[in-house]
Subunit: 757 residues, 2 copies
């Protein structure tokens, strides 16, 4: 845990430079605009510990996997998010010495991420050895208004200093991934160009052939007089230019660096040079102030609907806004080829881009905070990968169009390293179907089923149907060799969650096919042909769903996480000595696997997903049995527990879990924020409030709200999208207001009472 | 399967050069002498597909492991057997053109490995473009008489050829391991020396600092006239010398290359240069013919007791001798720091040197074919590693002197790559104790218990005692998360074999402690102190052994391989389509794990080990249940099945299994002989005959023999060491003779009849 950042409802503030936490700050002060982003690195040189990181959405490299002994069906490649061009770089020399906060003492250091404006600023004073004082101010943003554009403004003001300052803005593509498996560089040089007003550098990824080009125009004024470039330099993968300035007392240098970043996802490599130059010229005409204004307006439009306002608790307020802000920086929903990586644009760890986090956590967030087309784009992403999911299953021996979505992917191919995950953590396939179901119940839009959704559902139902086998011993259908959401168990038989969601997927497939046959005959004919569907499949699925085995302990009246769970030495996590926590850092994997401890919601994930299948007493029994054994060593765990605890009126537990999820990165709970932010679990924070504290559910097609106010909060308010409407919910100490802000009238349940909005 | 080698009782003969099988031949024609060895590479250049391999016993390199995501308790290093100096090299140029069997057609090619003599010869004729014919003959051996020495003789005879022949003998240390994880070179240059009579090259391993030096002296005569060296060359890691010869019709060139190889296991690096030079001079004085004679005499001494003579079946005869020959080439029992690698000196695959193969397969072989000190050295090897085994267990969280022997090791540290093996395939720990038990029952030597054996047993009993936990559900002690001998199952609960051998180890520990307390009070006092033994441990062990859970199917009256085994789709391997075999090459790992198919004897391994715990009917029930599901995709599997089938009178099955094990490499059953020979499983071939067909067992401390003659054999005979005696067994069509060849009189049972020998 770290507490060096000040609490503020809209800002993340670092007072004084915390060099010892620099890499954590680099993660926290990350910026992005859905198309590219970067860690909060300094513009100027920094020789201390740093992870320079600049990333482009959808640009990846298939690094060779690293396994002991490769076996059939193991993935060959691990698609890596690529560290790309450093486009923020500006070296600064004062009397010939490089400005470097690792080596120089500065005063009045203050860094602010203003989440309302989407603006990162940094100010400090330094005392050059030759006398006087220089005040620095850095400001930058990645435009949410134009996703190709970013801009930086640096101001240096003299207070009694006379001397030479040299500024060297540059673009540098000679970068490596920290997590390269075999130390390879993933980029190859394409070209560098530079003239008096314009610089560019371009590189192409090996194997995948993505081309990224970065362009800059720089402008330096001193007291409103423009400074000419003294010299410029072009070397392989790097371009730079030099400004030499004599500065006197009270003078101010202002450098503006306007940047355009283009990737071949959006602009063909042959046109990047022309396109970048043109766009850069337009941006220069628009000017820094107007670019910033447009950017701020874009953020205003997002916050209008996405914000959650909390009264009476600044920590909680700051936490939720930080989570919402980072999610929107990572994914704006504009492109169905993109998805939400576990670290977004804030680090390289976990490679890949898409886990089941998207379906289980992020889709509910975007469903709630934005127009439905964004969540739909996330569904379409998977539809586009359906052929690869079928290939993926075929590699494992499944046939006839069975689809297994990958555990981690960028392009639809599986790219995790570990067999116990890739082959076995197959419950993710269920989340794909659940997301479609979730989308329909929150938007009312059934059209998606016709336009791809049902094909995905059929592929997945086929997979489950083949993945189970009939046990003559149990006289039921069983599922062997899986890993559930609780990754502290590998290769178990009959994981309750997996069996349950598999059964539900097949049932849902049967229902939706029945519906489409009735309502959309023509669409069904097409889908039938596209999927080469055989009517006998329905009977096969039904045979399995009516006799699917679910492990159960009758004496406790609870479902068991898996076969044999009761053979374990059962104990609660609070019996663990403090020095043993977190167990994934302190214990051997052997010991973890054999223990009863649960990494993240597993049986409880099922009870959360299928909330209307279980009554409160059933939920309580399972919560009381599993919660004490849960160690929450996944960032995805606390939010589900927060929601269930809220449902059960366990407000203290709900609060504890909420803080853990909402301030995970700000307070560095797991001592790993330096690797990047936990982007996908941030959606869980939003869920904790909206589905947890506000108690929103859809039951029998009706929106229900049943808020509980967490201890220490005076109220909270948010807006949510629901079936074409926007509904404002405002919770106070003794009241809950619900207002229809847009759309047709609707009836909802507030604490089980009907309200017409 | 490949059938290009001729059948012969003592020789492996290749007629005509089979270029397409060259790498297979390189494995088969490997030579070794326990201290170093090499694949059957050609002396001269060969530009075709080849795996050049030269290996030194005990010389290894800890390569970084390759895992997806490292977790606590994973091994950091994988100790690799090192490809070392090429000491056989002799380039041969005819009229300036390099002799290269990839590019040149030769006639009358014939290669013979004479196993009786330990000699590899190769002859062929070639027709130089300038006319005439040259007859080549190559001969080499690695001396079994002096393990530092090897020698090569090359003869080139002209039949109508007139021209220039250049010979370039060399030593080359610039070699790489084919299986390096990250492409590193493991050797660093030390020195090269060369003068008119002597060449040497020396290199040191990175990290482990083993120094190996190789020395050569060469002598070339034409018609008994010595040829002078024309020139010589020294470059980093390589020395060579050149002979230029004008040869005429009927002349014969004879090159003798005498080699000394020294490793720092035996000669300190500082003394290697002097020692090598001295030894080389001695060898030169002794002369090629006498060196060869001494080598042959050493093999004669081995064959005297190790041979198995089979009448009426040359294929079977050749197979068993090839296995015995390769085992003795790999390990001669002279050094307790050495052990038997899965590929010996014939390849790099599987790295490491020691698996449980040594205890389960090789120790019985050496017990039977040689004086007991050799098997004892193999036991001492493990005793020397006891501190590392305790460390290894401690890394996983075990305490108080619990010992877990590694799955693969050279220096006592675990160095396998996969958690499902390293943490989980812990049954190997049982084999360590079983080998001590086996050693005592075959030698009668209980002294070893006092001199290390009991400490090993205690460390292992402690491990089992901590590794089980009490299941309140089953009201018994259970063992979770293991991999049994059948590696086609990973992370299962209550593997019968593992639970059974664990229970037996603890029982055996209790018994042996009781015995030593009674018989050797002083020794016990010392062992107690050395192991910090607490008398309460005995009660703990007994508590576990009296209530250890063993999975069982009452209806079939068989023990189950593991919990949940009956949930699988049970079917016999003969229902598999031919194109699906072997499943480890055709199926995904996912499919294999979930199938019922068994890689190698698992429950049956237990019934074999503890043969006197189960009656014949019990054995038959288990054999009939498990054998049909066994795919024998481990080289260790067929021999156990051959033995059990013999016991049950299933001679056809026994024969099938025997051929599979004895000619595994000669006929390349698994299409992998090119990687090297299956050295450790070769001991299984011997076991198939001696413990299988001859039906030798020790029951209640008495040797029993009950031979069955396999179909197509007319008889077989062998000698076996047993409790200080040597007993000759000779089996004919209707008779079984047993003779005491050395030692005190003894009573044995032949077909349950008492015979006094």
């Amino acid at each position: 845990m770290k507490h060096y950042l000040a609490h503020h409802p809209w800002q993340i503030i670092e007072e004084d430079f915390h060099r010892e936490h620099h890499e954590v700050s680099e993660s926290i002060y990350s910026l992005g605009n859905g198309r590219f982003g970067l860690r909060g690195n300094f513009e100027e040189e920094f020789t201390g510990k740093t992870l320079r990181g600049s990333y482009f959405a959808g640009v990846y490299y298939p690094d060779l996997t690293r396994v002991g002994w490769w076996k059939n069906g193991y993935p060959e490649y691990f698609a890596k998010v690529l560290n790309a061009v450093n486009w923020i770089g500006v070296n600064i020399f004062i009397d010939g010495e490089s400005l470097d906060l690792e080596k120089m003492q500065v005063s009045n250091f203050r860094r602010i991420l203003d989440m309302q404006l989407g603006l990162l600023t940094r100010t400090f004073d330094m005392h050059p050895p030759s006398g006087g004082l220089l005040s620095f101010r850095f400001e930058r943003f990645c435009s949410m208004d134009d996703p190709d554009t970013a801009a930086i403004q640096i101001s240096i003001k003299s207070n009694g200093y006379h001397g030479k300052i040299t500024l060297e803005p540059y673009l540098d593509f000679d970068v490596y991934n920290k997590d390269s498996n075999y130390g390879d560089q993933f980029w190859e040089r394409v070209t560098e160009e530079q003239d008096d007003t314009f610089s560019m550098v371009s590189a192409i990824t090996k194997k995948t052939q993505f081309t990224v080009s970065s362009f800059m125009q720089t402008n330096v004024v001193v007291n409103k007089h423009e400074i000419k470039i003294a010299s410029s330099d072009v070397s392989p993968m790097k371009v730079s230019r030099l400004y030499k300035i004599d500065i006197k007392n009270n003078e101010e240098i202002i450098l503006e660096k306007t940047v355009v970043n283009l990737s071949s996802l959006y602009v063909h490599p042959d046109h990047q040079s022309d396109e970048g130059r043109k766009k850069l010229e337009e941006n220069v005409v628009t000017g820094y102030a107007a670019l910033k204004h447009n950017h701020r307006k874009a953020w205003q439009r997002i916050w209008e609907y996405a914000d959650i306002a909390i009264e009476g608790n600044v920590m909680a307020q700051q936490g939720i806004r930080f989570n919402i802000f980072q999610l929107w920086q990572t994914y704006t929903g504009a492109d169905a080829r993109l998805n939400i990586g576990p670290k977004g644009f804030t680090g390289e760890k976990y490679g890949g881009s898409t886990y089941w986090d998207t379906e289980a956590y992020c889709i509910p967030f975007y469903l709630g905070t934005a127009d439905s087309h964004i969540a739909r784009n996330l569904l379409v992403y998977r539809y586009l990968h359906l052929p690869k999911a079928i290939e993926n299953a075929a590699k494992l021996g499944f046939k006839d169009g069975a689809a297994l979505y990958p555990m981690v992917t960028i392009n639809g191919e599986e790219c995790h390293n570990e067999w116990e995950i890739t082959f076995e953590e197959i419950h993710r396939n269920g989340a794909m179907v659940y997301a479609i179901y979730d989308y329909i119940r929150y938007t009312g839009d059934t059209e998606y089923l016709l336009e791809g959704g049902l094909e995905v559902i059929i592929g997945i139902a086929r997979f489950w149907s083949q993945r189970v086998n009939f046990s003559h011993d149990k006289q039921a259908w069983v599922m062997l060799g899986v890993t559930g959401p609780n990754e502290y168990e590998n290769n178990v038989n009959n994981n309750f969650y997996t069996n349950y969601i598999a059964r539900w997927c097949m049932e849902y497939a049967v229902e939706q096919i029945a519906w489409i046959k009735k309502e959309h005959v023509d669409a069904w004919t097409k889908i039938k042909e596209a999927t080469d569907f055989d009517e006998n499949e329905l009977a096969q699925w039904t045979e399995r769903t009516t006799n699917m085995y679910l492990p159960r302990d009758e004496s406790r009246n609870v479902y068991l996480q898996q076969d044999g769970f009761l053979d374990k030495d059962l104990m609660s996590a609070d019996q663990l000595p403090a020095e043993d926590r977190p167990i994934n850092q302190k214990w051997s994997w052997d010991r973890i696997l054999r223990s009863c401890f649960i990494k993240q919601a597993d049986v409880l994930q099922g009870l959360y997903f299928f909330e209307d299948h279980f009554d409160e007493e059933t939920l309580r029994r399972h919560f009381d049995f599993y919660e004490p054994m849960t160690v929450h060593e996944s960032s995805l765990s606390p939010c589900v527990h927060a929601i269930l605890a809220s449902r059960l009126g366990k407000t203290e537990k709900a609060n504890e879990m909420y803080l853990r999820t909402s301030r995970l990165d700000l307070d560095d709970y797991n001592n790993d924020t330096e690797d990047g932010l936990h982007i996908t679990s941030m959606a869980g924070t939003w869920m904790s409030v909206v589905r947890g504290f506000a108690g929103t559910q859809v039951k029998d097609g009706q929106l229900c709200v049943a808020p509980v106010l967490p201890a220490g909060w005076e109220g909270f308010a948010f807006k949510m999208h629901y079936r074409g409407r926007i509904i404002g919910i405002s919770v106070g100490k003794d009241n809950c207001e619900a207002n229809l802000l847009a759309g047709e009238p609707i009836e909802i349940l507030v604490y089980n009472e009907r309200r017409q909005l």
